[in-house]
């Protein structure tokens, strides 16, 4: 996943999920298991994608 979409657009990793939170908060918020789970599920959903590079936005 990425916290800096502009950098990821330069680097072109095969699959990335862009999240909307500040640096230091890649999974959103501490002690927020439902939100953290949602990030993981959206990350895992990218794995079957073969149209690389894939850069998706996190959907709240």
């Amino acid at each position: 996943m990425t916290l800096l979409r502009e950098i990821t657009e330069k680097v072109h990793p095969p699959r990335a999920l862009s999240v909307p939170w500040p640096l230091g908060f890649p999974l959103g918020a501490p002690d927020d298991a439902p939100l953290q789970r949602k990030v993981l599920l959206q990350l895992l959903a990218l794995l079957p994608r073969e149209d690389v590079p894939v850069l998706e936005e996190f959907v709240p």
């Binding site: 990425t2 916290l3 330069k10 072109h12 640096l23 959103g28 501490p30």
Partner: protein
Amino acid sequence: MPRINELPLWLRGVLFAYPWRRIDPVPLARLRKPLRECRVALVTTAGLVSPGEEPFDNDIRGGDASYRVIRADAPLALLEEHHRSESFDHAGIERDRNLALPLDRLRELVAGGLIGEVAPRHLSFMGSITAPGRLVRDTAPPAAALLEADGVDVALLFPV
């Protein structure tokens, strides 16, 4: 998501000067089995270290390109955070290590049958590596080989 032009001036300067490497051609690693059968590993750049292990060295010029192994049964709350950067608020990760290494969430996904297994070993790097040559040349290949030796199907990367 922070826009680069909203970051502190010094950090904008670092990001501008950093030798970003464009991956070209972009490799395609196909998922070879259903997710519910996959073994999943986590990779963080939060500089997390297991209790009693050697911390990252903040005095290495260009950054400490080494990594630490975090075992799947590691006491998550006791992992020490050694990230040297002042570019982010460390309070979130100090409160809940899952914010950068979501091992508890991964275990829950296994229990729910969404993924197959939690890998036995996970990797922790130090971010803020301003000279990435050693990381790319010396550190990344054995780190990837370690995951491969563990039969890892999927690695999820969490930069901070």
